[in-house]
C-alpha cells in the first residue's frame, strides 16, 4: 500500500518537476520563504525600505508610537532619493499661510481639483483623506522642524495652495534628524532583494545586500548588479515599502506605457528604477493604474534633468504667457494640469525642434526669489531681454501675431477672464501682473518623465493587497510606490501630501500590529 502511494507521489513529483523545467522564464524563483533563510543576521521590530518623504514619515510615526528597534534602508549612497531633489511643495487648503495671503479655499475644492485631474479614477476615500487629514500632517511637519518658505499656485489647482520649503530635502532632513535623535537606525547602500514570507504568507523579514554599489547608468539593468554582501534581516512587526517610482528606468516605464521612449528625458534621480516594483509583481502583489506615468512640464528644455529653471517656470505659468514661436499664439491654458499642458506642448514642439516660449516681465520675475532666478539664468534656463524685439529676433518669433496675442493676454489678465483657454488669474500683493515692464524673461518648457501614478494597491491604512484580493499581513506600502491616490494624472504638490499622510498611516499601522503581536505573545 505504502509502496503504491509512494510510487504515485514520485510520479506526481516527476511530472511537476519536469513541467517546471519547461518554464523558461522561471529562472527567478517564486516568493522567498522562511525555510530558505540560512540564518537571520539581524532582527528588528520593523524595517522601512526607502528614505524619502514617505519612508521618513512612516519611520518617525512608528517611533512616536513607541517602536524603538527600527531600521531604515536605502540602496543608494545618499538618502532621500527623488524626494531630496524635488520641489518640496505641499498642496493644502485652510493653512494659516494661505489665510495670510487672503485666499479663500476649502478641502472640497481641493478634492474636486484632484478628482478632475485624475479623471475620477482615483480612490475617492483616499483623496478625501489627503485633503482633510493633510492639514494635520502639514502641522505635524512644522512641529518637527519643517519651515515653509514659498507660496504659489501649481497647475490644475483652482486656487493658490502650494507651500514650498525650497527643496525637498528640507522636509526629509529635519525628519531624519528626529529619527536619529530618537535612536532609529538608518543605513545606506543596503538593497532589498526579496521579501521573506512565513508558511502562512505573512511577511516576516527580507533578504538584502549590504555595501551595495549602485551603477549610475540609466541603460544598465539593475537586475544585473551583483555587488554587495547578502544578509537576512528579520522584521517582527512588519515591512514598510517606500521605494518610490520608476520614471527613471527607461525599460520598465516603457513596459507599462509604450509611448514613453527610452531616450526621453526624466526629472528623476538615477536610483528611480523598476527593481523593487518588478520583485513585488513577481510576488503576486496587486498593482493598480500602472499605465499612468506622468510627464511634467515645469522643467526647462535647456537643462538636463530637474535643473534650476523650475522656480522661474512655475511663476511663468502663474504670471506669464506661453506661446508657439512659429505662430506667435498661445495654445493652452498655462495653469492647467501637467497632463493637459504636456500633451499640448508635445503637440506643437516638433519633437524638440520648436520649443514653446514662456514669457513674463520684471513684475512676474519678482515673484521668484532673486537667487533662484539668477541660478536659472546661470544655468541657461532663463533668458533676459531688455526689449521684446530682442526676444523676437533671438527665437525667430512670428512678430505680428505675437504682439496681437500679447495685447489680448494683457486684457484677459485685467478682466480676470480668458475666453480662449479658460485660464484664471490671481493677484499678487493685490495687483494683477501683466506683461508690460522690461526687462523680459523667457523660459523654454520641456516636458520630462516624472511620476508614477500607479503602483501597489493598498487599503487606506497602507496594508498591501495580493492579486488574490487578500491582504498580505506584515506588509505595508506608502508613497510613489503605491497607486490609486491620483488616478489618471497627479496634481503638482499632491505627492508630498500623499507621502506624508499615508506614510504616517503606514507607521501607525505597523505600530498597531506590533502592539497586537505583543498582546498575543
Amino acid at each position: 500500500m505504502l509502496d503504491e502511494q509512494r510510487r504515485k507521489a514520485m510520479k506526481q513529483f516527476a511530472l511537476f518537476g519536469s513541467s517546471i523545467m519547461l518554464f523558461p522564464t522561471l529562472d527567478v524563483q517564486a516568493k522567498m520563504l522562511e525555510k530558505d533563510v540560512p540564518v537571520w543576521d539581524e532582527e528588528f521590530d520593523a524595517i522601512v525600505v526607502g528614505s524619502g518623504y514617505a519612508g521618513t514619515a512612516a519611520m518617525l510615526s512608528m517611533m512616536n508610537k513607541g517602536l524603538k528597534n527600527v531600521l531604515m534602508i536605502d540602496k543608494m549612497q545618499y538618502m532621500g532619493g527623488n524626494s531630496s531633489i524635488s520641489g518640496g511643495s505641499y498642496a493644502m487648503s485652510r493653512t494659516s499661510i494661505q489665510k495670510e495671503h487672503g485666499i479663500q479655499d476649502d478641502p472640497e475644492q481641493h478634492i474636486k481639483d484632484t478628482l478632475k485631474s485624475g479623471h475620477n479614477l482615483n480612490n475617492p476615500e483616499m483623496v478625501r483623506i489627503m485633503a482633510y487629514e493633510g492639514l494635520e500632517a502639514f502641522n505635524w511637519l512644522v512641529n518637527n522642524g519643517v519651515q515653509w518658505k514659498l507660496f504659489s499656485r501649481s497647475g490644475g489647482h483652482s486656487a493658490p495652495r502650494n507651500h514650498s520649503v525650497g527643496v525637498g530635502s528640507f522636509i526629509t532632513m529635519p525628519l531624519q534628524e528626529h529619527i536619529m535623535k530618537q535612536g532609529g537606525q538608518q543605513r545606506t547602500r543596503v538593497i532589498m532583494d526579496e521579501l521573506v514570507y512565513d508558511d502562512k504568507g505573512r511577511v516576516i523579514g527580507m533578504k538584502v545586500r549590504e555595501k551595495y554599489e549602485f551603477k549610475f547608468d540609466r541603460s544598465f539593468d539593475e537586475n544585473e548588479n551583483k555587488t554587495g554582501i547578502t544578509k537576512y534581516y528579520r522584521a517582527n512587526a512588519g515591512v514598510v515599502l517606500a521605494t518610490g517610482g520608476w520614471a527613471g528606468d527607461p525599460k520598465v516605464r516603457e513596459l507599462f506605457n509604450p509611448a514613453l521612449k527610452p531616450e526621453m528625458p526624466t526629472t528623476n534621480h538615477y536610483g528611480a528604477t523598476g527593481y523593487t516594483i518588478q520583485k513585488l509583481i513577481k510576488d503576486d502583489i496587486d498593482m493598480v493604474d500602472m499605465q499612468y506615468i506622468q510627464i511634467m512640464h515645469v522643467t526647462s528644455a535647456d537643462e538636463n534633468s530637474f535643473g534650476f529653471g523650475f522656480r522661474a517656470i512655475t511663476s511663468g505659468y502663474s504670471y506669464g504667457m506661453m506661446f508657439n514661436p512659429k505662430t506667435g499664439r498661445r495654445f493652452v491654458n498655462e495653469i492647467a494640469d501637467r497632463r493637459i499642458c504636456s500633451d499640448a506642448i508635445f503637440a506643437m514642439n516638433e519633437k524638440g525642434k520648436n520649443h514653446p516660449l514662456l514669457l513674463m516681465d520684471i513684475n512676474g520675475a519678482k515673484t521668484v526669489e532673486i537667487d533662484a532666478l539668477q541660478r536659472g539664468i546661470e544655468a541657461g534656463a532663463v533668458y533676459q531681454f531688455e526689449t521684446l524685439d530682442e526676444m523676437i529676433q533671438k527665437f525667430n518669433v512670428n512678430k505680428e501675431p505675437f504682439l496681437d496675442e500679447l495685447k489680448k493676454y494683457n486684457s484677459y489678465v485685467l478682466t480676470g477672464k480668458d475666453p480662449e483657454f479658460g485660464r484664471t488669474f490671481f493677484k499678487n500683493n493685490d495687483k494683477y501682473i501683466t506683461i508690460e515692464k522690461p526687462p523680459y524673461f523667457v523660459m523654454r518648457p520641456g516636458p520630462k518623465i516624472h511620476h508614477c501614478m500607479g503602483g501597489v494597491r493598498t487599503t487606506v491604512d497602507c496594508e498591501v493587497y495580493s492579486t488574490s484580493g487578500k491582504l498580505v499581513e506584515g506588509l505595508y506600502a506608502c508613497g510613489e510606490v503605491t497607486g490609486g491616490r491620483h488616478g489618471y494624472n497627479r496634481l503638482g504638490s499632491n505627492s508630498v501630501v500623499d507621502c506624508i499622510v499615508f506614510g504616517r498611516r503606514a507607521g501607525f499601522a505597523v505600530a498597531e500590529r506590533y502592539k497586537s503581536l505583543l498582546r498575543r505573545a
Binding site: S169, F170, K211, E213, Y270, E303, F308, R375
Partner: protein
C-alpha cells in the same frame, strides 16, 4: 703635456656627465605609478597602502564603501564644505542642499576616474568645469 691636459679635460667632462645622469635618477614620486588618477597620486605620495583605506580582513571583500576611513584624515563634512567654499554657493559640491554627509566614493574613486554627482542634474558651465580629484 697636450695629451695630459686633453685627458684631464675629457675625464672631467665624462665625470660631469656621470654626475648629471646620477642626479637625474627618478625618486619614488607620485608619477611613477601606473595610475593617472589624482586622488591615487596624493595617497601614494603619502605611502598609503591598501590596508590604510580598506579595513576588510580579506582582499576579496574590499569595497569602496568606506566613508569612515576617509573621514579619519579628512575629519568631517563641515571641513570639506569649508574646503570647497571658494566655489561659491551654487557650486559648492560639499554643501549640497539635497544630500548631506554622503559617501565619498560616489564622486571620489581611487582606482578609476572620479565623477561629479551634481553634474547629473545641474549642467551650468561653472559646474561642468570643476575637476573632481
Amino acid at each position: 703635456m697636450k695629451t695630459l691636459t686633453m685627458r684631464i679635460i675629457i675625464s672631467f667632462f665624462v665625470l660631469g656627465l656621470i654626475f648629471l645622469w646620477a642626479s637625474d635618477v627618478p625618486q619614488n614620486t607620485a608619477t611613477s605609478n601606473n595610475h593617472q588618477y589624482a586622488i591615487d597620486g596624493i595617497h601614494k605620495k603619502l605611502s598609503l597602502g591598501c590596508k590604510e583605506c580598506h579595513r576588510e580582513l580579506k582582499q576579496e571583500d574590499y569595497s569602496s564603501a568606506m566613508k569612515e576611513t576617509c573621514l579619519t584624515c579628512h575629519e568631517n563634512y563641515e571641513k570639506l564644505k569649508e574646503r570647497t567654499g571658494h566655489l561659491g554657493h551654487n557650486n559648492n559640491v560639499h554643501a549640497s542642499p539635497h544630500f548631506t554627509n554622503i559617501d565619498c566614493d560616489i564622486c571620489h574613486k581611487s582606482h578609476k576616474p572620479s565623477q561629479n554627482l551634481c553634474l547629473q542634474c545641474h549642467g551650468q558651465q561653472t559646474m561642468k568645469q570643476l575637476i573632481v580629484k
